[in-house]
Structures are given as structure tokens and as C-alpha cells.
């Protein structure tokens, strides 16, 4: 399948083969939250019980976590 930029078509093909393999063989098989996710969920639950001011800070913290999370292969 061509890319909108033809120069990228070969690289795209390589990426898609890699992604499709990871998606079917790894990603879809992770049906339980991993230790990092469980830890994050527990922490977020505690933080969300705090005051309204702290809930506002929680939103920034979630953005920070997303920025810091290591790149998953895809």
C-alpha cells in the first residue's frame, strides 16, 4: 500500500510488517494490566480521592507519565 509520500513506501512496508507482528503476537496477548500499569492505577486512585486542587494537579501528572513512558516497540 503506497504512502502519501512515495519515498516512504519501502520504509512503510517494513514498519507495517513489524507492527502487524507485534500487534498480533504481543499486544493483543497482554490481557492483564502489567506491574507498571497496576502501580499507576493504584496511585491515581489514591490521588483522585484528594481535594479538588489536587485533582487538578493529577491531570498534569498523567500528562507527565505519558511523556516519560518508554517507547513501546510498534
Amino acid at each position: 500500500m503506497n504512502s502519501v509520500r512515495e519515498a516512504c513506501t519501502d520504509m512503510k512496508c517494513e514498519y507495517h510488517q513489524c507492527f502487524n507482528r507485534w500487534f498480533a503476537e504481543k499486544f493483543l496477548k497482554e490481557t492483564a494490566p502489567g506491574p507498571v500499569q497496576r502501580s499507576l492505577q493504584a496511585l491515581l486512585a489514591v490521588l483522585s480521592e484528594s481535594s479538588k486542587e489536587k485533582r487538578f494537579l493529577l491531570k498534569d501528572w498523567s500528562s507527565w507519565v505519558m511523556a516519560k513512558k518508554p517507547e513501546n516497540s510498534s
Binding site: N2, V4, R5, N20, A24, F27, L28, V36, M66, S74
Partner: protein, 139 residues
Amino acid sequence: MKIWTSEHVFDHLWETVTTAAMQKYPNPMNPSVVGVDVLDRHVDPSGKLHSHRLLSTEWRLPSIVKSLSGSARTKTYVRENSVVDPVEKTMELKSSNISFTNMVLVDERLTYKPHPQDPEKTILTQEAIISVQGVSLSS
């Protein structure tokens, strides 16, 4: 505004249907989609996979348009956002056209889930909302 909905049951597991849906194009059943590009893809802290894709579609127009515009083919673009949750087993896609938005808006939403009565099957729910600017489409 016109709303169109449909449901379809696949006789396959949700994982199989989702994997296939990710590789939907090129698709001989819909040859107008000529390109797919992933613009962004990431897994969020809750483990859901978010993808943002750009689809290029090409349409052959009637010859009268060719004589007016000099070209019988026109490329249009659609943006598609999808979220796959491997724990809850849901895949949701939302797409909208980003070309000719001054004339027509087509928003589509697809949801793939295991069938509630038979988890070995997958149910697809589709909804499309079409608006033509300045024209009432109510029936």
C-alpha cells in the same frame, strides 16, 4: 444530516478480526483507498493502543467532470483515530473526511467487540453521519 447504522457479526474471535481490521487496506472490496499512513501511534499508561492514520482515497469521476476540470481522478483524504483495548477487548475507530469539508462531512464510527451471546464471534457496530452543507438530508 443523515445517520446510517448497521451491525455485522463475524464468525471469528475478536483478536482475529482486530488483527485483520488493522490490515484492512489494500482491499479489493474498496479499491478507492489508495494509501494509508500512520501519523502517530502510542500505547497509553492504561495499555490502550492509540493510532492516528491518514487514508488517501481516489475517485474516478464521470467524463463530464474531466472535461471541466481536466482530470477524471481526484484524491481525497480521511483521518482515522482508533483505540484498541486488549483487556476489555474493544476496538473503536472514528474517521472523518478532511477534504471537501466545505461541501460534505462524513463521520464514521466503528466498534468491534466480542459478541455478547457468543464470545467466539465478533460484533461490528457501524454508524455514519453524513452532512451536506446547505442541504437538508432528512427523509
